[in-house]
């Protein structure tokens, strides 16, 4: 089956995932079209991060299907490296390579994985540094950067692979409040450029602003979903209402 742009870029159907005896995802389905930004929100332990970790096969799946550009992720013969070239991911703890400078962190994957030539990779890396507003920090090591700066390097590192879809796993949760905004701004610009994004976030104001669609998860299922306006102002499910009343 060939994939075309009128089909969902990421299509999750009836996803089930257990860690040992504990079932954390109990039948989740969602579709993401090209260029769409979706936010997954919900209480801690509701399986939000697990869902997006399944999309690039960092977690395996017990049951159900995840299609990324028409390719089945839940396939024992899946070439995970090919999948991960298309799916970028940014983590809560940045996870930069501590022994490489900011620029080297960004350049590493295109050089090693895509085998691109050094000159063009460096050019691209410098453009990305500019894009995430870190000029002058090219030669700094991660340990010399603030959390917000590290996270922006991590975003640039992921973008250097020119992914078709980006996963953001609570990327501002570990940051100081004053650096949260610089990271959110970077993501917002990315979304405006048309990047397909799946975000797990606790930043409700941000979700409302950038998301095309919001999914609310609780105890491994999607309780409610809708456009930001209907979701935040007109939630139907009592669990959603309770969650929103606690955080808004």
């Amino acid at each position: 089956m060939t994939w075309s742009e009128d089909q969902p870029m990421v299509s999750i159907k009836n996803l089930h995932k257990s860690f040992g005896e504990l079932e954390v995802i109990k039948g989740v389905s969602l579709d993401v079209m090209k260029g769409e930004v979706i936010c997954i929100i919900g209480p801690s332990g509701s399986g939000k991060s697990t869902i997006i970790r399944c999309v690039n096969a960092l977690n395996d799946i017990q049951e159900g299907s995840i299609m990324v550009e028409g390719q089945e992720v839940n396939d024992p013969d899946l070439d995970k490296r090919e999948l991960r070239k298309k799916v970028g991911m940014v983590f809560q703890q940045y996870n930069l390579f501590p022994h490489k400078t900011a620029l080297e962190n960004i350049m590493m994957a295109p050089l090693l994985v895509l085998k691109q030539d050094k000159e063009s990779v460096e050019k691209l890396a410098r453009q990305l540094v500019k894009k995430v507003r870190l000029e002058g920090k090219e030669d700094s090591y991660p340990g010399e950067l603030s959390g917000g700066q590290q996270q922006r390097v991590a975003i640039a590192r992921s973008l250097a692979m020119s992914p078709d879809v980006m996963l953001f796993d609570e990327v501002t949760a570990a940051l100081d409040p004053e650096t949260v905004n610089e990271v959110l701004l970077t993501i917002k610009e990315l979304a405006e450029d048309g990047m397909t994004c799946i975000l797990v976030t606790h930043e409700m104001g941000f979700a409302r602003e950038v998301a095309d669609h919001i999914y609310f998860t609780d105890k491994g299922v999607i309780v409610e979903h809708g456009s930001p306006a209907t979701f935040f102002d007109d939630a139907k499910d009592p669990r959603t209402k309770e969650f929103l009343s606690q955080i808004l």
Partner: protein, 248 residues
């Protein structure tokens, strides 16, 4: 220079302190040969034992059960037996089982001589410890850093070579230095299979000159200085690998 050598002759005549390798050119030649043999033996064993350590630690993380068991068995065998017994085992047991080859004098000689067996035996001995040392360093690399590399599409080998090893190396350098210091000292065991290293040559000299006391004092100092140089080099190496802002 001659006057310098003559001084030791005078020292002997005047005080009875006999250091023939200082004033006698034949004994001096023996000592120098012995010194370089020790250096050659040490350097080769250092290199091979580190290679064995890195490959062993890589194989120990293999998904194949029998590969892991094989490495585990190797470590147990070489860690739990005395290095002298290992040396004898290789030289006398394995060495005599191998086919003989024609010697330059028309006779037969063993395929591998004492020096080759010493290198093999001591490399495997120190290598067993190095596997464990490298493994401890590899386990100290956060899984989240590995995951970031996976998410960028790195292969298992690329992750090991470019992420895990460079980070693990910095963690293990002190422990590695300890083991390499031990290895250099253990090269004296090659004496037992007549490899003409420093201690062996010293023995030759004291047998001819009956100056055991002087030679023993000299040997102690000579090894103290030799290992001191190694420790100094390892410390410098450790400092040069320090990453700004990373670790203590």
């Amino acid at each position: 220079m001659e006057a310098f050598f003559e001084w030791f002759k005078w020292l002997y005549d005047d005080t009875g302190i006999n250091l023939p390798f200082m004033y006698d050119s034949y004994d001096r030649g023996r000592m120098i040969n012995g010194f370089f043999m020790t250096i050659k033996l040490s350097v080769l064993c250092l290199i091979f034992s580190i290679i064995i350590g890195m490959i062993g630690a890589w194989l120990q993380a293999s998904p194949l059960k029998w590969t892991r068991r094989f490495v585990g068995g190797y470590i147990q065998l070489f860690r739990n037996t005395p290095p002298l017994v290992q040396l004898y085992f290789f030289y006398f047991a394995i060495g005599t089982m191998l086919p003989k080859v024609a010697s330059d004098y028309g006779g037969e000689q063993p395929m591998l001589g004492g020096f080759a067996w010493a290198v093999i035996s001591l490399s495997f001995f120190a290598g067993a410890f190095n596997v464990e040392i490298f493994r401890s360093g590899i386990e100290a690399v956060p899984n989240s850093t590995i995951e970031a590399a996976k998410a960028l599409g790195f292969s298992r080998l690329q992750i090991y070579k470019d992420i895990t090893l460079p980070l693990a190396f910095r963690v293990v350098l002190p422990a590695l230095a300890n083991n390499l210091v031990n290895l250099v000292k253990t090269t004296t065991l090659a004496y037992a299979i007549a490899v003409p290293e420093m201690l062996y040559e010293a023995n030759q000299i004291w047998s001819d000159n009956v100056n055991v006391t002087e030679m023993m004092i000299f040997m102690l100092l000579a090894y103290f200085l030799l290992v001191g140089v190694l420790v100094w080099a390892m410390n410098r190496w450790e400092r040069s690998l320090k990453i700004p802002g990373y670790g203590a």
